[in-house]
Symmetry: D2
Subunit: 345 residues, 4 copies
Amino acid sequence: MLHFDSDYMEGAHPAIIERLAATNLDQTSGYGTDEVCERARQRIREACACPEAAVYFLVGGTQANAAVADQILRPWEGIVSATTGHITAHEAGAVEACGRKTLPLPQHDGKLDAAEVRAYCEAYWADENREHIVAPGAVYISHPTEYGTVYSLVELEALSQVCRDFGMRLFMDGARLGYGLAAVGADVALPDIARLCDAFYIGGTKVGALCGEAVVFTKPGLDDHFFTLMKKRGALLAKGRFLGLQFDVLFEEEDGGLRYENAGRHAVALAQRLAEGFRAKGYDLHLDSPTNQQFVVLDDDAKARLAEHASFGFWELAPDGRTVVRFATSWATRPEAVDELLALL
Amino acid sequence: MLHFDSDYMEGAHPAIIERLAATNLDQTSGYGTDEVCERARQRIREACACPEAAVYFLVGGTQANAAVADQILRPWEGIVSATTGHITAHEAGAVEACGRKTLPLPQHDGKLDAAEVRAYCEAYWADENREHIVAPGAVYISHPTEYGTVYSLVELEALSQVCRDFGMRLFMDGARLGYGLAAVGADVALPDIARLCDAFYIGGTKVGALCGEAVVFTKPGLDDHFFTLMKKRGALLAKGRFLGLQFDVLFEEEDGGLRYENAGRHAVALAQRLAEGFRAKGYDLHLDSPTNQQFVVLDDDAKARLAEHASFGFWELAPDGRTVVRFATSWATRPEAVDELLALL
Amino acid sequence: MLHFDSDYMEGAHPAIIERLAATNLDQTSGYGTDEVCERARQRIREACACPEAAVYFLVGGTQANAAVADQILRPWEGIVSATTGHITAHEAGAVEACGRKTLPLPQHDGKLDAAEVRAYCEAYWADENREHIVAPGAVYISHPTEYGTVYSLVELEALSQVCRDFGMRLFMDGARLGYGLAAVGADVALPDIARLCDAFYIGGTKVGALCGEAVVFTKPGLDDHFFTLMKKRGALLAKGRFLGLQFDVLFEEEDGGLRYENAGRHAVALAQRLAEGFRAKGYDLHLDSPTNQQFVVLDDDAKARLAEHASFGFWELAPDGRTVVRFATSWATRPEAVDELLALL
Amino acid sequence: MLHFDSDYMEGAHPAIIERLAATNLDQTSGYGTDEVCERARQRIREACACPEAAVYFLVGGTQANAAVADQILRPWEGIVSATTGHITAHEAGAVEACGRKTLPLPQHDGKLDAAEVRAYCEAYWADENREHIVAPGAVYISHPTEYGTVYSLVELEALSQVCRDFGMRLFMDGARLGYGLAAVGADVALPDIARLCDAFYIGGTKVGALCGEAVVFTKPGLDDHFFTLMKKRGALLAKGRFLGLQFDVLFEEEDGGLRYENAGRHAVALAQRLAEGFRAKGYDLHLDSPTNQQFVVLDDDAKARLAEHASFGFWELAPDGRTVVRFATSWATRPEAVDELLALL
C-alpha cells in the first residue's frame, strides 16, 4: 500500500534522530531556557534576517494558533480568517475556547483577498455601533493554505498594508511553511514574512520534525509574558530542548541549503511530478497547487480502484458529485512511491 | 558541576531513542489512531488490571491536568486541591483559563486529608445557598505530591470513599508516578490507582520519556468526546505515535520489571542514599520524602558552598530564615554523581 | 424631533409602573424564589400551553443568548446561526467569551433555511474527521429576525425537524417576540414555539418592560443547574421579583388579550401604516417586514432631509450606494408621531 | 413575621419609583448614552471629588465584580481576595468563568491584612519561577465586608500603598457601600475611596435601588473599551437610563445629605439598636459589626424560638456547635420592626 494521506506519517528527519541520540544524556535546564533552544532561536533569527525576533517553541499547530491568537488580540478584538482557515474550520473551536472570536471572510483558493479585508475593516470603523461588535484586531492567514496555495509577495504586502492601516496584527500559520518557501514560483522568503507579519510560525511537525512549531514574534513587545501564556495554555514543554534541538538541526546548512528548505524542495518536486502525472493521464485537478498537497477530482470508480493500492485523504464533494481527494508528499516521500502511484493510474 | 535541579534534565530512556531510530520511517496514521499507540494502551490497561480503561496520550503535565479537569467537571463544579497542588499553585491558572475554579484545602506534607475533604463537602451540601457556590465536583491529588510524599493505600481509599459518597470524581496527577510506585514503603500499585481513581495520568516526561503523559479514564463514559476536547485545548499531537511509542517502550518488561518501574526504583534508591548522606552529615531534611525528591534545609553559608559545585532547586523559605532546597534524582542519575555530591558536604 | 431609532426608548408599560409603586415595600425572598416570579412563571406556562416548562428571568438579550447557549451546548458543540444572527453579529463575542463557537450559515431575509442547515449537518456527520471540528449542537434563530421578518409555522417545523434528526437543540431569541406574534400573517403562536423549540425567550426589554427576558426551557432536564450558571454569568438578579413582576403584568389579560400581545399589535399596526406611507410616497423598502421594524432605502438627500425632523437607525449600505435605515415602532409609539413622520415625506 | 433576611427584600427608595413614573414616557437613547445617565455620572464624580472618574452602570454585584476583574487584570494576572471575599466564595466561579484566577489570602473579620498582601507579593517577585505562577495583578476588597466590618482609613491607605508598590490595581466591592460610609466610627469617605482605589463600585441593589451598581474607574485609561467588555459579558442594559435614573435620584440632596447617605445612616442606626438589644438580653455577637449586618450566635433553642416570628439568614456553624445567624437592616427597615424583634428576645 502506498501512503499519501498526509505529510505527518513518518517520524523525523534522520539528522534529528541522530542528534537526539548523540545528546540524549546531556543535562540542560528546562522550559526552553537552555542553550540548544537559544542556538535554534539564533539560527531562525538569521534565516529571517530579523535579529530582534522573539522565538518560542510550541508543540503543535492548533496549540500555536490558539496561543498566538490569544496573545496578540486585545480583549475586544477578534481575528479575521478565510472561511477555510484552519483556525476557524478545523481546530475544534480552540480559538473560541480562549474566549476569542474568529471573523470569517470568503476564501479564494484558500486565500484571503486584501481588498475584501479592507472593506470589512472600513465597514467596521464606519459603524457607529461598532462598540457592540467584535473589532477586527488581527488577520490570520495560512501559507501554504489548506488548499496548498501560497500568497505572492504582492498579495502578502497588500494584506500587511491593510493591517498597518487599521492597526491590526498579521499572523501567518506556517504549519507547512517549508513547502510554501519551496513552492513553484514562490517569491516570498522568510525575511519577507518576518518583515510583513507581526507573528508567524515555522511548522516543524509537517516538515521533518517529530513535533514542534517555532513561533516568531517580529515586533518588540508583542510577546510580552508569552512564556506565562504558554504555561497557562498547556503549551510549555518541560524538556524544551527537545523542540529546540529539532529546529537547530532543521536550520543547519546541508548540501547548500538549510535542511528545512531542502526538505520542502524535495516534497514539492515530487508533488509536482505527481500532479503532472495525474494531468497526463487525464485526471482533473481541483486547483493549481504549487506545493506538496495535490487535490484530484475522482469519480467513484477511479477512487475505488486507486484505494485498493494507495491511501489518500478525502477532502470534499465536488459540485458535480465527484470527490476531491488529497495526495500529500513530504520530506520523507520516496520518489519510487510516486512512480508506483503514477503507474497505477 | 553536579545537577540535581529536577528530574527532567536529560533526554529519554535509551531504549526509547533506539526505538525511535528503528521505526523512524514507518508510516502510520495520525492523532493516536495508529497501532503503536494501541499497543501502548493495551500494555497500560494490563499494568493497571483495568481492561476497560480509556487511555489517551498528552504531551505535558499542565496540559493533562487542565484537559482532564475540564473534561470531568460539570459546568457548575470546581475541583478540590491541596493549596500546594500543582494545579492551583504552579500552572499559571491553566484550570481557570478553562473557566473552572480550583477549590483549595489545607495541605499536610503536600497531601489532602480525607476527613477535611469530607467536612468541606458536608458543609457545601448543608448550605441552603449552595447554588450560589461552586460545587465540589472532583478531587485532585498529586502522587507523589509536590513534596515528594505519597498517599498510603488507606489514605487513597479514604479519599476515594469521600468522592463516592459525594458524587465526585477522583483525579490523580501522576507526573512522577513512577517514583511514587517505587517509593519507600509504598503500598499503592497501578491496579489500586485504577480501581480507586476515576482518572489519573502516568507521567512520562519526568520518568524517562522525552515528553508525554498517559491519561487513563477508568470508568466508562467519563472520556466522552475527550478526543475533541484535546483538539480544542491544543493537546492533540499530529504524530501521536511518537507518544505511544514512548509508553510502549516504558511499559515493556526488562530485567524482571517494567522499564517504567525500574526507572522509578533507580531514582528512588539514589534519592534515599542522598537523604541518608545528608542526615549523616547533620543536615536537616524538611520532611521525610520516600521518593526521588529530597528537601534539605540549608543556611546561607551551606547553600553558597554547595552551589559552587552543584545545582539544585530553591523551594521556599523555612520559618527560621534558612532555605529549603530540592535535590531531585531521576531515571538518568548516575550513582557516581550522588557519591560526588555527598563528598562535597 | 420624532424618534424612531429603536423600540427601547421609553420606560415601561404604565401598568408595570403602577404595580411597582403598589408593591414597592412588600418584602420577598431574593433571586427569583418569590411568589411574584412564580405567578409570572405560571402565566407564561399557560400562555405557552406547556405546563412543564422551566422559566427563568434574565435582565437582557445578550445575557440571555449567551447564558442559554452556554447551557444547552455540550463541550464539543457550537451553535448554528444565520450570519446576521444577533448572537454572532452584534453581541461583542458574548457566546465566544463563554468558550463556545457560533457556526454561521447564509441568511435569507435574516432567516436560516432548514434545507441548508440539514445539508450542513449531513456534511458534518459524513466527515470522518469530524472529531476535529466543532459539532453543530444547537440552532439559533431570532424571531422576528434582525430584519423584522418572521418564520412561518412550516419553516419553524422544518427547522425543528432538522434539529430532531441530528440531535440538536433549537433555540429562539425572542427579544422582539411580541412583535413576531403580532406580525402580519403570523401563523406561529406561543404554544407552537414551546412545542417546536427546546429553549426560547420572551423579550421584555423591547416589548414593554424596563428590562427583562423570560427564558423558557420546554424540555425537562435542559435547565439542569441553570440557576448556578446564571449566577456564574452575572445574570442572577438579587431582587428577582422586579423581573417577575413585569412579566406578571405583561401576561395579564387586558382588553381581551394579554398585555404583551396587545403591545405587539399596537406597534405592528403603526409600523405597517408607516410602511404603507413610505411606499405610497414612492420610497423603496429594503424588504417586506411584517413586524415593527421597517427598513427604508434612502438616498443622501432624502436621508438628510428626514434627519432634520426625525431620528432613525443606520442599518447598512445598499448595493446601489443608497442607505438602508430602520424605523422602529414600539408598544409606546403614539399614532400621531407616525402621522407626523409621514407628513414629512 | 418580621423579615431580617437580607437588605434586598423590598423594592426601591420611593423617590426612585416617583421618578420612574414621572419620566416613564420620555424618549432617550440606549445603552447609557442618555442625559439621565450623564447627570448621574456627574453627581457621582462630584460626591467622589474625582472629576476625571469614568462611571458605568451595571445591573448587579456579581456581574460588576467579574466585569471589573476581567477589565483590570492583564492576561497573566489574578486577583487577591480574602478567603471570605464574595468574589471567590459566593459567586459561583464568575471570575474564573472569565478565565481569571482568584488568589485567596487569610481573612481577619472579613478583611485582608496589608502586611500579608505585601508578604505575598514579595514572595511572588522573589520567586525565580514566578513566570509559571499567576501574578498578583489586583487586590479585591469588600467594604463593608461579608461580615459587616469596614476598613479604616489607615488600613485602606496601607492596602493602597501595597498596590502602588507592586504595580497592582486596588478594587473595592461596594455592594453595601452606603452602609460602610455610615458605619459607626467610619473614617473613610467617597473621596478617600476614589483616591485610594483604582476601581470600585457604589452598590445600589442593597442600598435603595431596584437594581444597579455604579462602577467607578478613578484612573484614566483603566476603562479602555469597558463598554464593549460589558456587552461581551452581558452586562450592558439597553434601557441604560433606568440605571442612571436610580443613581441620579440616590445622589440627590435630601434633608441635608445625599439620599444614598441617608439610606445608609437609617439602616446602620437600626442595626446598632438591634445589636445593643441583643447584647442587653445576654446574646453573643459573633463579631463587632459597625454596619447594617449583625451576626448573632444562637443555640438551637433560641434559634427555633426566634424563627417562629422572624426570618433571618443562616451564616455558619460556630466552633462550639451553636449557629451564627445574620440579621440585616436596610434603608427600608421600619423602626417598629426592630422594636418588635427585640421584644421577642
